[in-house]
Symmetry: C2
């Protein structure tokens, strides 16, 4: 047993889609969320900058004595996970490995699997998803598409209005004739657009919310390492933002259906 | 007479709306354009970061021996112009002063003037436009609105599609019942959406393209200072980008109606 909290960080509100899945699945765990809203967006920053920012985020969570860090950010996972593992001893998990494990378990190597990947510019440019998919999954075909406007739209709370609808229509165009089996939401903001994406691609395409796959992964990991919190403990969440002038509360309240979230947010400076 | 070029910089392709006006009005001047596409967007970066980046941009243009620098970027003007003037001796003009001069000449102080300002988050937060308007224009009422998605949309080349239409509709909503006389496009990317904005606000609202006001300002300035280039010289433009993986060529070619622009672009590093 390990009573210490799980730390989760993202550039903004996107990682809350991951927190929501973890909170649902692990009601006994304490969670600490850090949204680096001051430095949002990570999506188009250079690799060096992402590594610097992610190092500071992880450093803050470690100062809060977390037992495990979840990088709930596609860009930070693809650009900085390996560097962070070199710097810190605490276990760190990103959004790619748990997703690849899930796909590996649920595909038939004798049949071609056609996978779409949507993510930020930085993530697509890093080519990490395609590399991992080609390395780990037999008989896979990958189609990438950068969607640079989606994370900024989500941060602004535009996830269901007409602008969001038209943007999803535009970004999904290249996939329409690709007969996809699955599409990976390679940025943690994107589950906020899940219904719109499903509508555009049709119900035959499995939409992969990486937050769910991280929760699956943690389920095994916490048991195997024997670091679960007590079954008698009611887990609590605390939220830290590097800039509070943002739509975090609005989006987060909707995701967690928790109107009290406002009272649990603290501002902090990671620089 | 001064044969040296005029330097112009922006975070991306937006400043090309200013270059287009200057090029049209001063066919004898050589122009050097620097688009800091690697660090785009400036709009949501901190003041310190903007000052650092703008200092490097201006420094590069000075190394090219320019006679004058135009900050063709709303965010850099509002956050860094005063700092740059302290550092460099070369004359520097931003997008605010020429616009305020124009409004001052074209308003009647005995009648209320209702002015809308749209710009990036950083510019609106700086409150520079409202401060200058209240200080310089009598009997003025100012309405501000940050439009954080417009510059990223323009960089992506989305200025006339359905996403752009819906975004403009959404951002113009707060102005609909404000009986505006004028609206200032406080970010140099926004003239790319001019028709959509005019359609939304109606033809009675004057849309102020700051590039035109800068050209007016330079017309007087170059003559007064006697630093025009020779009337016999055919002005040339050179373009420098800090990252060439962007839609610069596509947007710039449309703006200048010049298909040859691709051949005049050089990549350079300002760090």
């Amino acid at each position: 047993m390990d009573k210490r909290p799980i730390g989760i960080f993202d550039s903004g509100v996107g990682g809350m889609t991951v927190l929501a899945e973890i909170k649902k699945r692990f009601p006994n765990e304490d969670l600490i969320y850090l949204g680096d809203t001051k430095n949002f967006p990570y999506g188009d920053k250079s690799r060096e900058t992402i590594i610097k920012l992610a190092t500071k985020c992880a450093g803050f969570l470690i100062s809060q004595d977390v037992k495990l860090i979840v990088i709930a950010c596609g860009t930070a996972t693809s650009q900085a996970l390996e560097e962070l593992k070199k710097i810190y001893k605490v276990p760190i998990v990103g959004i790619i490995t748990p997703t690849i494990i899930n796909i590996k378990r649920n595909t038939n190597p004798s049949k071609e699997t056609r996978v779409g990947v949507i993510a930020t510019e930085g993530t697509i440019r890093s080519n990490k998803w395609e590399e991992e998919l080609l390395q780990e999954i037999e008989n896979v075909k990958v189609f990438n598409k950068a969607c640079p406007l989606l994370a900024p739209m989500a941060e602004q709370g535009w996830t269901t209005n007409n602008v969001a609808k038209e943007a999803i229509k535009e970004y999904m165009k290249p996939f329409i004739d690709k007969k996809l089996d699955k599409i990976i939401l390679g940025c943690t903001h994107y589950p906020l657009f899940k219904e719109l994406i499903q509508k555009e691609l049709g119900n035959d395409v499995e939409i992969i919310n990486t937050g769910e796959k991280i929760a699956d992964y943690l389920e095994e990991y916490l048991v195997n390492e024997d670091i679960e919190n007590s079954k008698n403990h009611d887990g609590e969440c605390s939220y830290y933002l590097t800039d509070t002038e943002c739509n975090f509360i609005q989006v987060a309240s909707r995701l967690l259906q928790d109107k009290e979230i406002r009272n649990n947010i603290q501002k902090m400076n990671i620089e």
